[in-house]
Symmetry: C2
Subunit: 213 residues, 2 copies
């Protein structure tokens, strides 16, 4: 398999973690988003949305990090990244989507560019926007993790990493890079620390990527 | 089952379609987002993220529209809303996420409110922002649908509706309400029209909801 990735892309990092948890090796192709390599004709021809990550498995091209991870989990089921029971699966997917739909889309590069280039937003206001969505989103995430009876364990769901952890950890890396306040989210921080003890999360982090600056 | 929904919430509409496709009846509870009913203590107690939709199935509370639809598809498998093969499933999920992660999060009510209230963006600039993300996002979606060899049929994937159609149709309703230009997306428009011929899509549209103005 081949992975098109950018070291700082948190969506790419989600897939790198899942691959590592499953012990799958891939050829790594860097797509430099700041240099806009995602809009090059060669890449756009295989990635219609011109986003990373993209996974090539044989002739098949797969996009969207959460869809890629679900695919990996179906084709390489061990260790599972989703629980066996439908309610547990729904919870893990909802946690992943709480980040993938409610936080990350507001803070990716093309959105920040639009704020600055089109809406003429100041650097300070742009950073306040970034922190607002991270902090309100992670506060909601913390409330979900700590609901009475929630299946939160050492990780977001029980004691083994799932799709939810694959999605949470990259968001925390971004949050720290932008100095977001994670003080009110002790469960989030505890789970992040537990994940980063595992080689699958540590060895695939942005600073460990072949294309890291 | 009980569904907490807002008639104009496109994430709620996704779930309403899925329930209708599966012939499942639910008690409908309206949560009026403009009146900020989602932040009421009663609702916040069951919905930590204070978002709609929310599905109550027995004692279980399920959030995030795509996670809810996957759950419904696992617990009530007929008719299936995902293909049987892993690559087909990955394609349908990626199409749904192309809307749920790349378009919709940028245009929901709380984001538009932030643009106006915090960033003091004009009404015109706010509407231009809205159209920008819808039009660039749907242009990418159209490119995906028309890739050589794509499994696009009468619907987004083959000739029966899937999770991708449940996600596309509400986005098109929003796009039309805000006068987005859908001229360059003939496949998207064709599939939208095919969906709206089906009672499951028509009978659950915003204007048909109990809480429609």
């Amino acid at each position: 398999m081949e992975l098109y990735s950018y070291f700082r892309s948190s969506a790419s990092y989600r897939v790198r973690i899942a691959l590592a948890l499953k012990g799958l090796e891939v050829d790594y192709h860097a797509v430099h988003l700041l240099k806009k390599e995602q809009t090059s004709p060669d890449y756009a021809a295989i990635a219609p949305a011109q986003l990373v990550p993209l996974l090539k498995d044989g002739d098949a091209l797969l996009s969207q990090s959460l869809a890629i991870i679900e695919y990996l989990d179906e084709v390489h089921p061990e260790p599972p990244l989703l629980p066996r029971d439908p309610l547990g699966r729904a919870r893990v997917r909802a946690l992943a989507l709480d980040i993938a739909c409610e936080i990350h889309p507001l803070n990716n590069l093309r959105v920040l560019r639009y704020l600055v280039n089109e809406l003429k937003v100041s650097e300070d206001a742009k950073n306040a926007w970034y922190r607002h969505w991270v902090e309100t989103g992670l506060a909601a995430f913390e409330r979900s993790l700590t609901l009475p009876g929630a299946a939160t364990g050492r990780f977001c769901h029980g004691d083994t990493p799932t799709l939810a952890d694959c999605t949470l950890v990259p968001q925390i890396h971004n949050a720290r890079r932008l100095d977001c306040n994670l003080e009110p989210m002790p469960t989030v921080r505890r789970i992040f620390d537990a994940c980063m003890m595992l080689p699958a999360f540590a060895s695939t982090q942005p600073s460990a990527c072949p294309d890291a600056a």
